[in-house]
């Protein structure tokens, strides 16, 4: 029975990892950028929601709406101010920029919300802890899981059924080709960043609701999503969801049955094993495409944009 309990907790926690993982995969798929600032973006989203709930004393649904609106603004600003000036630069330079962004956001968070642990008021979410036979399900975790799944279903619908979703899938296949088919790649990049920040914010407030938010420690939780991403496959969004759930379950099972201290790093041991034995992950593409999309540091991202600016068609001034 203990097994069932750990399994349920694992799956419910894994949902949050899955959200972060999808946020990382989304950005990686369409821009080839691995986003190291995801932890800080997550914390920022959680803290904005906290401010709406505690400082402004708004009702929950309004606070959620406000936090998501702010996430759109943050995502837009991040893309416009940080990543657009760096279009066409070597990929490592852009990864460096995500590091710089994480430092800026950490500074901002420390300035506005200080470094102390902030906890959401208890009883913010309606409902009580559910007893399902011998298994105890915390209603907060259940809410988090439901919200996660709703967000992912909306995302799936967006990808498969809308024109913008179609364009996003197109540029994740090939930048140059989709540009020649008339896709405005900068707009799609902006949309990608906005969605990624929304997902990050959502995971931040769900996590914050459960554990409280600390500016220095909470971003590290986002690192748990990295094994999830690799486990599921860097190219696949469904894989990222499965990976997130798997990491949550393994962490809960190993931590519960073997040793809580090993539970902490079980995700990373899993990561190493996956990398050695099945590097493309559960649903990722095979090695041939893998080597192309991972590339080496010398490879330039977005080769198409490097030559001409997609807006005016004239060459971008290179260094």
């Amino acid at each position: 029975m203990l097994f069932l309990q750990f399994l349920t907790t694992g799956i419910l926690t894994g949902g949050i990892y899955a959200l972060i993982a999808v946020s990382i995969v989304l950005v990686y798929k369409s821009t080839r950028i691995f986003n190291f600032a995801v932890g800080e973006l997550m914390v920022l989203g959680g803290l904005i929601c906290y401010s709406f709930v505690v400082w402004a004393e708004l009702p929950l649904w309004l606070a959620l709406l406000g936090a998501l609106t702010m996430a759109v603004i943050v995502g837009f600003l991040v893309e416009r101010l940080v990543f657009r000036p760096l279009l066409g630069q070597p990929i490592l330079t852009i990864i460096m920029a995500t590091l710089a962004l994480s430092s800026i956001l950490l500074g901002l968070i420390l300035m506005v919300w200080t470094g102390y642990t902030l906890t959401f008021p208890s009883g913010m979410l309606p409902g009580r802890t559910i007893l399902l036979g011998p298994v105890v399900i915390s209603h907060e975790l259940l809410w988090a899981f439901v919200i996660t799944m709703v967000a992912l279903i909306i995302l799936g619908y967006f990808f498969l059924k809308t024109r913008t979703g179609l364009r996003m899938r197109a540029i994740s296949e090939d930048h140059e080709l989709s540009m020649s088919c008339g896709v405005n790649i900068t707009v799609i990049f902006a949309v990608t960043w906005i969605i990624a920040v929304i997902l990050g914010s959502l995971s931040g407030l769900l996590l914050g609701n459960r554990l409280g938010i600390t500016a220095s420690a909470t971003p590290l939780i986002a690192l748990k999503a990295f094994p999830a991403v690799i486990f599921g496959g860097l190219e696949s969004i469904v894989g990222a969801v499965l990976g997130g759930l798997a990491v949550g379950v393994i962490e809960a099972l190993v931590g519960g049955f073997i040793d809580p201290r090993i539970g902490e790093i079980s995700a990373y041991i899993l990561l190493l094993l996956v990398l050695v034995f099945k590097p493309e992950g559960l649903l990722g593409e095979k090695r041939k495409d893998l080597s192309r999309s991972c590339g080496d540091p010398a490879e330039h991202s977005m080769t198409a944009i490097k030559r001409t600016s997609p807006l005016s068609g004239r060459p971008l001034s290179g260094p």
């Binding site: 691995f34 070597p90 710089a100 430092s103 500074g107 690799i230 201290r261 190493l272």
Partner: protein, 315 residues
Amino acid sequence: MPSLVSGPVITTINLIALSVISALGLTVLTGLTGQVSLGQGAFMAVGAYTSMLFMNHLNFSFWLALPLGILAAGLAGMVFGLPSLRIKGFYLAMATLAAQFIIPWSIINIRPDLTGGTSSIQIAPAKFFGLTLTTQAHIYYVIMFFTLVVIYLTRNLARSKIGRAFVAIRDNDLAAEIMGVEIYRYKLLSFFICSLYAGLAGCMFALWVGAVSVDFFTLRESIWYLGMIIVGGLGSVPGTVFGVVFIRVLELVVQWLGPLFAAVFPEYIAGAIKNGASHMIFGLAILVFLIFEPLGLAHRWEIFKHFYRRWPFSY
């Protein structure tokens, strides 16, 4: 040099010099061979802790424990480089990220009675022909000696057969394999060299602080070592040195600027501003730098050299 400047400056120079050693390791791995590593801090920890274990528990002298620490770090690097046969790019970064979590975890949890767990452990100062190296000025000469040796070795390595094999793997691993470069061997060798440097830097760090603690070798440190070589310019030895100096000095400058900036604001929010300002200025400086100088300081250095060489007749 130590006779010219005061204590805190020497301390900073020592930190910069030992960071150069570690960053040069990454230059070999990332700059020359094209493999990304996020575990540099962890491999430094292996070096520092191994030499600590030999010194404190087996009473080895520092000079005897040093090569053992370096070797242990090199082997650890090779173990975590093993997946590099099948994976590259971000996947490899993730494998080394796992090192960054697993190694400190092992240090804290496996034998806390030997390694001190999370708390720091003192090491005895090194002796050099009867002279005990206690002050930063003494340590300066040791660290500077090793830094210069490593710079010299790395410069030569880049021009050797091994260095050319590394560059071939970076530029196109498939073509390199066809031309007869044994990819797997050279990749592992690259990881080994990188971690040797990290081990040396870790031992120097232990000497510099006079103690070891897992808190010195965090993920943040590892990531910023990568940051240093990117800011400096990938694959360039002078660029690496510039990058390390740039980041380390910038860290100091923002620590000094943060409170100054906070003093402008009224009393009741100044505390919070002071906390955040240094992080924010640091990030902003890096970002502005990247936007205006995306190819790193080495690129600017080349331009400057060309200008200087041709100076009065620049056409």
